[in-house]
Subunit: 329 residues, 2 copies
């Protein structure tokens, strides 16, 4: 993407080593691989680092720290690592200020690797509603990261990087004192989940799936389109939100929302458009062959289903550019 | 795949035109595109037919029949079509024996296209439980198809193809009188949904995702692996079955089920293994780096997430062959 190419060194955060390899191939040099390192992957990490990529890994256990240190000694390269923290009980990570932080840090340093800092991903922020909850999640994350960094520094260890993440928290933080890096991803496109959380408007969503009407079941109030879960994904991230958007919110080809029209079901290559339950809106007249744009619940999950992005500007019928995607590991 | 290559003519059923194009490129000639035709796609249909591919489309409306007939006249090619039936209120299709069948058939024939027959996909069979319900679904489908074919023939129209489908019904039909073709797909691999319906055993499932342990949250009884929804999909097809398998059932690398271990949550690149709620089994000892195989809810949805199949035989550590996949439309 243009923004990246203007800053060929990065920084960038990736969630697979294939992403690291692809971005390294176009010149990015400052890369964080933000999924807990599995020792079997250290061969690929070392190969990228030998090419001059400053690839940093993350970990949350003594076993991983020992494996990284062993790889560092074997390759004569102080592989850098951030210790992952778990500020909200959501997924991976050491509890903030847990004494294990110091043990893990010491294993890295004494073993020949580099303790570069700490990182969090506040996945719990996805279940927040409203500015106050989001700001509280952002502060919980900041406090966990900064407090843990201070604990490591008090033990005499360096901790230059204090990295926090997640789009909802990143956009709601009122104070970032002590934080050196904020990682956010889905803000690039936004999506219905982010709109439901309240960090963007529907109009801010910059990704959609273009589909065509292939039929009707008028007696059931259904319009069928040629986009199912292969095109949208099965993500139901809005199911627990105040407004359930089904498998996606339906717009006309120009991107104007068709009131209360959502994708209520998806099969492999079929999507079923119906009115939101309880709606008083009329089902729009969409003949066979009509085009609709479907806004996705989760931009990441939907984008993963596609081999490329068709970039459109003011004219929704003209593809201004095609950006290739890659998938896999 | 070997079986296909031994029968280079087909027949084969596809759900996208890209599939039709790819299978045509390796020599298949008898292809049914089994998603309701959208008029804008008839250019690609005609191009494949000009190459000698007997590509047949499906439709369930007069508008589509008129569009197919117009394309047939424009290309001087009697494009064949099956009329789709809706035996169970599940998705697309004309109600069985609906008088519209005759109108649609007449529009095809008088317009210059070919009425080749009728077809159904008994998607409703996926919610059946047990042999009697499945056999009843299969018979409902057969009766809908055969009765509709008889109605067209009684109106003086040819109806050589009577095509039924869906793996659960195909494997449970007690009588196929009048049916000329049975289409089934997921039986190639089977999956947890099919096991839950009762048409296969867990041991019959021939597809899994190989993942590695990347961490533990012992106080929460969780093991983290490097396979999330990008690897498994978000399919939750067992959620409404008597045994909910989460996002997948966990086995050791040799494919032996780890009792009650399921993937209870998935993020983009993280999977969380926990014991099934209420289980008395112990959480297995799986150190960082240990390999597990995860059986998927829905083989189609999981396979779509991958660029290739790694084929393994008796030795689960040796990849005997790699089969490339393709995706997209």
């Amino acid at each position: 993407m243009p923004g990246l190419l203007q800053r060929p060194g990065g920084p960038i955060t990736v969630s697979t080593l294939k992403e690291a390899e692809q971005f390294a191939a176009i010149g990015l040099r400052d890369i964080l691989y933000a999924v807990g390192i599995e020792p079997g992957k250290l061969t690929r990490v070392a190969a990228l680092r030998r090419q001059g990529v400053d690839l940093c890994v993350i970990l949350d256990s003594l076993e991983q720290a020992q494996a990284v240190a062993a790889a560092a000694r074997a390759t004569n390269d102080r592989i850098p690592a951030l210790i992952e923290l778990d500020p909200d009980g959501h997924r991976a990570g050491v509890a903030p200020r847990d004494p294990r932080l110091v043990q893990i840090g010491a294993a890295l340093i004494s073993g020949g690797a580099e303790l570069r800092g700490v990182m969090t991903h506040s996945g719990g922020s996805y279940s927040c509603r409203g500015g106050d909850q989001l700001s509280a999640a952002a502060e919980r994350e900041r406090s966990a990261a900064v407090g843990s960094a201070e604990m490591l520094r008090a033990a005499g260890m360096p901790c230059p990087v204090v990295s926090v993440g997640s789009t909802p928290a990143a956009l709601s933080a009122r104070d970032l004192t002590g934080v050196t890096e904020v990682r956010a991803g889905v803000f690039v496109f936004f999506d219905l989940v982010m709109a439901g959380i309240g960090v963007c408007a529907i109009d801010d969503i910059a990704i959609s799936v273009l589909a065509s009407v292939i039929g009707h079941q008028r007696q059931r109030g259904q319009i069928l389109v040629d986009a199912g879960w292969t095109a949208l994904s099965r993500d139901r991230g809005t199911a627990d939100q105040p407004v359930d958007q089904g498998y996606g919110l339906v717009c006309d080809q120009a991107g104007r929302v068709l009131t209360d029209c959502i994708l209520t079901a998806v099969n492999q290559e079929h999507g079923i458009i119906s009115l939101r339950p309880g709606s008083g809106a009329p089902l729009p007249e969409l003949p066979v062959g009509a085009r609709v744009r479907i806004l996705p619940n989760h931009a990441c999950a939907t984008a993963t289903q596609h081999g490329e992005y068709a970039v459109v500007g003011a004219d929704p019928e003209r593809v201004a550019a095609v950006w290739r995607r890659f998938s896999g590991w």
